[in-house]
């Protein structure tokens, strides 16, 4: 006997809607899973895992989606990002964007930081305003971010393993042409020096 069409339709509808009606973990519950590496409430005590507290909502979501697709290189984040649905990522984004960015003292070279400050002003400040202190929709907070993480990030950009907007690409290339790798390193010392 054929099952009535209406029943099939009903089952199909319920089946299709299951993931939607499934109850999600709370934002805090999800965010807590990150703390083992990124610190309690996303405030990393370093020296390499970035602080994600205070991150912009949009930048968090884009980062996670780019890890999922493999567009953004990583050691472990590509594997971890695949563990969360878009709805869960949005909850985490909301949570971390509301946490205060915790500035922590870290080692830096004062001379290099001073040189970096001038380079930042010339090459980066147009987009990364106020010394990179803001949570931009398309960039992380740079001021006070852990230096090792910034260094990895800049390596990914300069080795063209991570995509960047044309605007940034041009400016970074100009910075490298003018000041070489030392220029990039000076920038990192500058951001690390910002408390």
């Amino acid at each position: 006997m054929k099952p009535p069409i209406r029943l099939i339709a009903l089952v199909a509808m319920l089946w299709g809607s299951l993931p939607v009606i499934a109850e999600l973990p709370s934002a805090t519950m999800l965010a807590n899973t990150c703390a083992g590496c990124h610190g309690t409430n996303g405030a990393s005590v370093g020296p390499a895992s970035p602080t994600i507290a205070g991150i912009s909502r949009d930048y968090f979501i884009q980062s996670m989606l780019d890890y999922q697709s493999g567009k953004r290189p990583s050691t472990i984040m590509q594997r971890i990002a695949k563990g969360y649905s878009e709805a869960e990522i949005e909850l985490m984004a909301e949570y971390f964007s509301q946490q205060p960015f915790a500035h922590q003292a870290q080692e830096h070279d004062v001379k290099q930081a001073d040189f970096g400050r001038r380079l930042h002003k010339k090459y980066c400040a147009l987009c990364h305003e106020d010394g990179g202190r803001h949570a931009d929709d398309d960039a992380g907070i740079l001021a006070g971010q852990w230096a090792a993480y910034l260094r990895f990030t800049m390596q990914d950009f300069t080795r063209e393993e991570r995509e960047m907007e044309n605007k940034m690409k041009q400016r970074l290339e100009k910075l490298q042409a003018d000041h070489g790798e030392q220029g990039v390193e000076a920038l990192i010392h500058y951001y690390a020096s910002q408390q």
């Binding site: 899973t33 472990i76 594997r79």
Partner: protein, 431 residues
């Protein structure tokens, strides 16, 4: 603990008629009677649970009972063996938790009474609880290997509970002659830190390669495969001559006679497929849940604690929860990250329960780093959810191992992230 606190607790117990009020749905009003959570065990799981309960509801009175004044993490202890780090760098105290208002009692727990809802300490002081979280870690089966017992472990260290045992093994390695043999007896599944014995071999090999290059490590294993096996053996080939005639590391699996059945501690000989003499012998015994879990009737026949995996409440006793290595939480491994993650899920469930709310939907994660050299790290990660059948389930498509074709630069980054993970997880637990 000071007796005055007990008196105050007893007073609170006597005035505890507020339970009815809690049931009526305004628990936070509380009328002065605080909800009490007693946590037994101050490792990663117990410390994290204490901290997070206090963060989630500062009105709950949290008491942590731990025998030791300080805790040594097992993770990164293999770097103590290689001399890459000092033992003080894996030692953590409880001042951070005390500053959060958590009462920390350095005492041994004698008994847990799930009916009277009390924890009794050695010396008979008694703590009343509304919820008790048991995080006892592991204990060893001392009686499965002929010639081996707790006293023998003072000569042939296990170093699988970090601290003096770690230092003992390190001292034996530094005292060993060049050309000596280090025997590592790996445990059967399940056990704490599945990649641990193989990271240990890597770290000891690093030490020997740089200090005593004529020496050798033999791993005797009652298993036919092990965690991160492909990545470890590829790393051993690359750095330690694995598979060649003069390899620093030799692995003997169960099929080649790797199962050890007798030890002669005096002669320093282990008997597996054949008799193997070791200058340093590291026996990692078969494991079970920590002793108090047995005393408190929380274990199954296999010696581990079955729990409701949504909340980590014991299947044997109500209002008693078991987290970390002692719990049955497969497919999560018995790891520090897993204990930290489970502690938060459990803390949220306990707090919800005490506030009269249903247990929240859990989310769990695990990340384990292993260091093959100080410049070459590998990892495994997984995200878990509660499956429809109420058990912990891997999220499909998530997690996995470091790709076998990861560049040297990425493997170096894994080391830096491993050190960063170490700083953050210990801060997330004890800080």
């Amino acid at each position: 603990m000071s007796s005055s606190v007990i008196t105050r607790r007893q007073f609170l117990t006597l005035t505890g008629g507020v339970l009815g009020a809690a049931a009526l749905g305004f628990p936070r009003l509380g009328l002065g009677a605080k909800k009490r959570v007693v946590i037994v065990g101050g490792g990663i799981g117990g410390a994290t649970a204490a901290k997070y309960i206090t963060m989630m509801d500062p009105a709950i009175e949290v008491t942590l009972v731990e025998k030791k004044q300080t805790y040594h993490t097992c993770f990164m202890s293999n770097e103590v063996l290689s001399g890459v780090r000092d033992i003080t760098s894996i030692e953590f105290g409880y001042d951070g938790l005390k500053k959060r208002g958590i009462t920390v009692i350095n005492a041994e727990v004698n008994a847990i009474d799930p009916v009277a809802k009390t924890v009794t300490l050695l010396g008979n002081d008694t703590l009343a609880y509304d919820a008790c979280i048991v995080a006892p870690g592991i204990d060893f089966h001392w009686d499965t290997l002929e010639g081996y017992n707790q006293q023998v472990a003072e000569q042939l260290p296990h170093a699988w509970q970090a601290g003096p045992q770690t230092q003992l093994l390190r001292d034996q390695l530094t005292a060993m002659r060049d050309g000596g043999t280090v025997v590592i007896v790996a445990p059967p599944n399940p056990f704490r830190c599945p990649p641990g014995p193989y990271e240990r071999a890597s770290q000891i090999a690093w030490y020997l390669k740089n200090n005593k290059p004529k020496s050798k490590i033999i791993i005797l294993d009652p298993k036919e495969k092990f965690s991160k096996m492909g990545l470890f053996t590829a790393g051993w080939k690359r750095y330690y001559g694995y598979g060649t005639g003069d390899s620093l590391i030799e692995w003997i699996g169960v099929d080649e006679g790797g199962e050890v059945n007798r030890v002669d501690a005096k002669q320093r000989i282990v008997y597996a497929g054949g008799a193997i003499k070791g200058d340093v012998i590291n026996i990692i015994p078969p494991q079970k849940a920590g002793k108090i879990a047995v005393t408190a009737d929380l274990v199954n026949e296999a010696g581990w604690c079955p729990v409701d995996q949504r909340t980590f409440e014991s299947k044997n006793h109500k209002d008693v929860y078991v987290i970390g290595d002692a719990s049955v939480a497969a497919p999560m491994p018995k790891s520090g990250y897993a204990a930290n993650s489970q502690a938060k899920v459990c803390a949220a469930a306990v707090v919800a329960g005490l506030q009269g709310n249903p247990a929240p939907v859990p989310s769990y994660v695990n990340t384990c780093y292993s260091l093959i050299t100080p410049e070459d790290g590998i990892s495994v990660a997984m995200v878990y959810r509660l499956g429809d059948d109420g058990t912990i389930t891997k999220v499909e498509g998530a997690g996995g191992l470091t790709p076998s074709d990861a560049s040297d630069a990425m493997r170096k980054r894994e080391v830096e992230y491993a050190y960063s993970w170490f700083k953050n997880i210990t801060h997330d637990s004890f800080g």
